[in-house]
């Protein structure tokens, strides 16, 4: 078996530059690659938001109230049930959808009705929305209704907030902290 240098056949490959031209060509190609990668790996600068804007983020995940009232089962109804399932009260499993409204300076900027999750609609309703607003002092009003039963009252909160440029104001709900919270 021969080595590569001992080939008995005349070879011709596509004409390639030799000597200095070859080195220069390689430098140019590697340079172009470096310039391309070096440029687009950091440039152009990206501005996710304008310099005089702020962000209001409405992020609430809450299990709504049952869609109806619980009622007491009659003795006949209880008798029809298997012994281990004879709970005296029957409550609807389905939960109310979550209705969220946000007003900024008395103008509505967001209104969402979110259905409960789950096949039986008994899971949490979650809302996550971002709204870009001008930075500065703003009058903010939030209404949240998680109960569609007649006579139910909605949660409300109004406040004047001062938003710095780029600031993110999160609107959440935490019953232990009094309902709607701004953070």
């Amino acid at each position: 078996m021969k080595t590569k240098d001992e080939s008995i056949v005349s070879k011709k490959r596509p004409t390639a530059p030799t000597g200095a031209g070859r080195w220069a060509g390689q430098l140019v190609l590697y340079g172009l690659f470096a310039v391309f990668v070096g440029t687009f790996s950091q440039w152009p600068l990206y501005h996710p938001m304008g310099p005089d804007q702020a962000q209001i983020k409405v992020s609430i995940s809450r299990v709504g109230q049952p869609v109806g009232e619980c009622r007491k089962r009659t003795p006949e109804e209880l008798a029809k049930l298997p012994p281990n399932m004879r709970a005296p009260m029957e409550c609807p499993r389905e939960r109310s959808p979550l209705t969220v409204e946000v007003d900024l300076n008395d103008q509505n900027i967001l209104k969402r009705v979110v259905a409960p999750t789950g096949l039986s609609k008994d899971g949490a309703s979650s809302i996550y929305e971002r709204v870009i607003v001008p930075a500065g002092e703003q009058k903010l009003a939030v209404r949240l209704n998680d109960d569609i039963r007649p006579g139910a009252t909605a949660h409300e909160r109004e406040a004047t907030v001062k938003l710095a440029p780029g600031q993110v104001l999160v609107i959440d709900f935490d019953a232990t902290q009094g309902g709607i919270i701004f953070q």
Binding site: K2, K12, Y46, P48, Q55, S61, R130, G166, Q167
Partner: protein, 473 residues
């Protein structure tokens, strides 16, 4: 593989220096900038720019394979196993930015979470994990680490599937290219270092980001359009890639056929087949220990490289009908010998030239000249080297063999095997006493007919000045 190896090597060192906690991650990455001699910057830059290189190579690889029609036929397996790897590479690349936990990491992690939330999969949005600094804990960081370390491991596993059914897979680029690229990446890392942004602050949206547009383009595109648009784009693109192999395609080429009586079990076809379509089994009708080649028609692409490798393909055999051990029904070795004999005897030229080319390379029929007898083969690798000697002995003044460029071969290895066989470096090789000055090997791919013509002209001039004996033995 160079990019992947660079990423793995630099990644292992980075991981050793990395503090996998929310509070320590940023500090540990920033600490790299203070490592003497710029080694920290070099390490970080190599890791990032190798990821950019991998992305570019990935796009070029997909485009090249598609343009060559390699998503079809026996190569469908490689295409289909390759498509999911695209998502693995993107996921691990994007996840790498999160580990730094600077403003860019915050933007990318939040954008990704919001993008995933656009699908109705989770009852609670993932983005709620990024509402406040208190939401991001070390446990979430463990998930980040999994995305950036676990997904590449899955990628490696997927790559193993991807290159199954391929033989002689080159895992690294040619050495000069490898060194050149490594030097370029290292210089880039030092001259244009990768720096962190300010630490993540979830109560603020970053004002300006030095985005890596090669890896993170999905985020600004989603900002400019919508999650629905980019999901449609991504899923549509993936679906298209998956469907491409199933689109109407030209009829598959006939596959190689083994003749047990002429197969001596030498394994050359088994070794040379670029698609591992040939396996060896015990020969049913011969003595114990002898083997027989078996072709898997699902894997065979019909290149004929096996016929070129078969020692029984020599035209010097005296049988009237040349039946070889493994052959191509659409262009049998016997037909090639007959055409060669007829071509040379019918040539009116005093010094005829035989040109063996590849149907996928430069068109041999384009070569002008009354002295030229041209043969297009399924692949140049189909040509047994003994045919070159046979042509010279049968009256040809010279022979031009024209495979495609090494690396540009339609069937991966045909050009390489041809060159090595003619150079005497691979079996079956051209015999040493064959006059090399009467043979011209030219690597001419599609569109390089001028180069082929130039080689024919060179050989013509050379043989015109030679004294050629009637039968050189």
């Amino acid at each position: 593989m160079l990019a992947f190896a660079t990423l793995a090597a630099s990644g292992v060192v980075l991981f050793a220096l990395f503090d996998t906690s929310v509070d320590g991650a940023y500090r540990s990455i920033e600490g790299l900038a203070r490592v003497p001699l710029g080694l920290g910057r070099l390490l970080r830059g190599l890791h990032r720019y190798a990821a950019d290189l991998l992305m570019l190579v990935l796009l070029l690889h997909v485009a090249r394979e598609w343009l060559h029609g390699h998503e079809r036929g026996a190569r469908r397996f490689h295409w289909l196993t390759g498509v999911p790897l695209v998502t693995f590479i993107f996921a691990s690349a994007i996840g790498g930015f999160w580990l730094i936990w600077d403003q860019l990491a915050q933007y990318s992690a939040l954008s990704t979470a919001e993008w995933l939330d656009a699908l109705p999969l989770l009852s609670t949005p993932l983005a709620r994990n990024f509402l406040s600094p208190a939401s991001v804990g070390d446990r979430l960081f463990s998930l980040f680490v999994f995305v950036h370390v676990g997904v590449p491991l899955l990628l490696l596993f997927g790559l193993w599937f991807h290159i199954q059914r391929l033989a002689h897979v080159p895992m690294a680029p040619p050495r000069p290219l490898m060194l050149g690229l490594l030097a370029t990446l290292a210089l880039l890392a030092l001259l244009r270092p990768v720096n962190s942004h300010a630490p993540a602050a979830l109560d603020h949206v970053p004002q300006a980001l030095h985005l890596d547009w090669l890896l993170l383009w999905l985020h600004p595109l989603t900002d400019a359009t919508s999650s629905a648009f980019t999901w449609t784009l991504v899923l549509g693109g993936m679906l298209l890639l998956f469907l491409l192999p199933f689109l109407p395609q030209p009829r598959r080429a006939a596959t190689a056929v083994v003749d047990p009586d002429n197969c001596n079990g030498c394994k050359r076809c088994f070794v040379d087949c670029p698609y591992a379509a040939v396996t060896m089994v015990p020969h049913p009708n011969q003595r114990v220990g002898r083997q027989l080649a078996v072709v898997d028609p699902d894997l065979c692409v019909g290149c004929g490289i096996c016929a070129g490798a078969c020692p029984s393909s020599t035209p010097f055999r005296s049988t009237e009908c040349l039946v070889t051990g493994i052959d191509m029904p659409q262009l049998p070795i016997d037909a090639l010998r007959k055409r060669l004999r007829q071509g040379i005897s019918a040539s009116g030229s005093e010094r005829p030239l035989v040109v063996f080319g590849c149907d996928h390379g430069a068109a041999v029929n384009s070569v002008q000249g009354e002295d030229v007898i041209a043969f297009g083969l399924l692949c140049a690798g189909q040509l047994p080297p003994s045919f070159v000697e046979y042509a010279l002995r049968d009256g040809a003044a010279g022979v031009v063999v024209a495979p495609c460029a090494d690396g540009g071969c339609e069937f991966r290895l045909g050009a390489r095997w041809t060159a090595e066989r003619l150079a005497g470096m691979r079996e079956p090789h051209l015999r040493a006493h064959v006059p090399g000055e009467r043979i011209e090997l030219v690597h001419a791919g599609p569109g390089q007919e001028t180069l082929l013509a130039s080689s024919v002209k060179t050989l013509r001039q050379r043989v015109q000045s030679m004294t050629i004996e009637a039968d050189e033995d």
